[in-house]
Symmetry: C2
Subunit: 349 residues, 2 copies
């Protein structure tokens, strides 16, 4: 007997949501049942036209701004929610989906470990998911993998962990004008300081999620968390396709964070993001340094691309989330992620 | 209310078994309930004397060669079995333990993915474990982590995996005379060839387990598996504390293996083990190179020590195995491993 396709819907059809659709359509055993998005250029149009892809024998997927039309109750096994960065903003949408008895994977950075910043909403989501017999999780490349889950996984080879240092050095050069503006590329130091003060500069969301995920996995109790956001001032002119930073101005942002356990600095995070880091001899990469017995020194060069990585993590977790028992889960609760290279239906229990 | 200690017994008190005991005794919330070993110097003696450790308020643990005395039915939550490399040899012991309604973690290399070489015994173990309401798993540093689970985990960031290459370059220099002899350090090429022919040279056990674990996780079907064992002939004299290889003789063994999917080479493994690799410019380390979207190039330098790593992986998996539902599991079925830094009782569901 032919198994039924794994049915997936997508809420939020920006770079992430549409990227996930493209990835899913290359795999065997999936069907996209609905897309919800507010973009007036998309509403009422067929997803395949917007993606510029051959439709084959897939049924039409007409994009709707009405969630009840795009994702009716029980119309799919799982919804990918790619609309927000913060749990508080994603929560009402997650609630709607869970009450439609649909499993949920959220790209919201805070959802990778929602307990860190929203313990109350975390309990609510767990309860709603359980009541409806479905599962909700947040994931992505970071938080979700490079600065947390991979750290936890590597600690498995250790008898004792004394200190955790994680560094993710990435290049902003591939990104467009929106990211240049969000990260302050090209502005002066004074403009940067002002942007930090009034909250217009984005920076990285996810340090407290990553630090709390690691600490909870190891059964450490974080009693102090701090983070900093500083400009990376370039001493040479740097030029990327969409960015330009004159010598003396901002080439990117250096995000750092620390987690203390019993008053001792135990987890250190360092995440500089800038255009053309190679120009100043900075190798992009993901680095994990665990001090203890034994020491673990890991490097991934270059860094895992944030866009593709987030798309892949979310899609690759679909079978695990469908197989999980109900409630709110995090990446440390489920089996290790893995690429889907065969028929996804064979990965469903 | 104080939770009960997590009770662990150990079968096989060699370097691995006794190392696990030492690690466990440094952690909170564990109790060792029994040790079974055939060494006449150990039988009838208290484990703490043999380890040369303070006993504190732990009850005596008298080592016995009689498994029914060392590990009576339901006397512990889990037994660590550190006696064999091959599933066929470990199977009767695993059966005894499962029938005592005790969860089992085995260090046997083949048990890391027993389906690869012993599909019949794998089914038997799964059935016996289910009937007795307990769980059995095999793990270790390799197979179990560096050349398989970590590969699977990293593939989670990928949309597509085209090719997997894994390399583990380790130094035999820290090891004693037994390993020097097993790996052929110092012998001539002719003696090496003879040792391979008559099966007296050990080499690495676990390639087919690692390759099948990766392939099954990604839903690839391995249709051909090959492995090779070749001498590493040194062109300079090399000297380690317990080994000496004259120029022209064997400094170690180069183990290689390949897994084919649909006739195409998809998984490539390379595992040279030798004394003093630094002397010839060979950096020890664990290397994973995944070709696909995106490429992933990971390096861990130096390599994770095989002894400490195996001890840590087995002990760190104890809570996961106790929490798992019954049956035979593999590392790709359970949540990611992690170091136990707090009270292990807080990790039990």
């Amino acid at each position: 007997m032919q198994k039924e396709n794994v049915k997936v819907a997508i809420w939020g059809f920006g770079a992430m949501g549409s990227g996930m659709a493209k990835m899913i359509l290359k795999k065997k055993g999936f069907q996209i049942t609905g897309v919800c998005d507010l973009n007036p250029n998309y509403i009422g149009r067929n997803m395949f036209d917007i993606l510029g892809l051959e439709q084959g024998d897939h049924p039409d997927v007409i994009i709707s701004s009405d969630i009840d039309k795009a994702i009716p109750e029980k119309s799919c096994d799982l919804a990918l929610l790619a609309t927000d960065s913060f749990t508080k903003k994603a929560f009402p949408k997650i609630k709607v989906l869970l009450e439609k008895k649909v499993n949920v994977i959220s790209t919201a950075e805070e959802m990778a470990y929602p307990k860190a910043n929203e313990p109350g909403l975390t309990e609510d989501m767990h309860k709603i998911a359980k009541e409806n017999g479905v599962t909700v999780i947040g994931t992505g490349i970071n938080p979700g993998m490079m600065m947390d889950l991979l750290v936890v996984c590597l600690s498995g080879v250790m008898e004792t962990v004394d200190h955790v240092a994680v560094k993710r050095v990435n290049s902003l050069s591939p990104f467009g004008p929106a990211v240049m503006e969000e990260q302050g590329v090209g502005i002066t130091k004074e403009e940067f300081d002002q942007g930090v003060k009034d909250g217009t500069l984005a920076g990285h969301v996810g340090f407290s999620e990553s630090i709390n995920m690691i600490a909870d996995a190891l059964k450490w109790k974080v009693d102090k968390f701090e983070q900093q956001m500083k400009p990376i001032i370039t001493d040479v002119d740097r030029k990327s396709p969409y960015g330009f930073a004159k010598a003396g101005n901002v080439a990117g942002v250096n995000m750092t964070a620390q987690g203390y356990v019993d008053g001792e600095l135990k987890i250190n995070m360092d995440h500089p993001q800038q255009i053309e880091p190679e120009q100043v001899g900075s190798d992009t990469g993901d680095y994990i340094t665990l001090k203890g017995t034994p020491n673990v020194n890991m490097a991934i060069n270059p860094e895992i691309d944030g866009g593709i990585g987030t798309i892949a993590m979310c899609v690759n977790m679909i079978p695990h989330v469908i197989n999980a028992n109900s409630g709110l889960k995090t990446m440390i609760d489920l089996p290790v992620p893995r690429a889907i290279m065969g028929d996804v239906r064979d990965m469903i229990d």
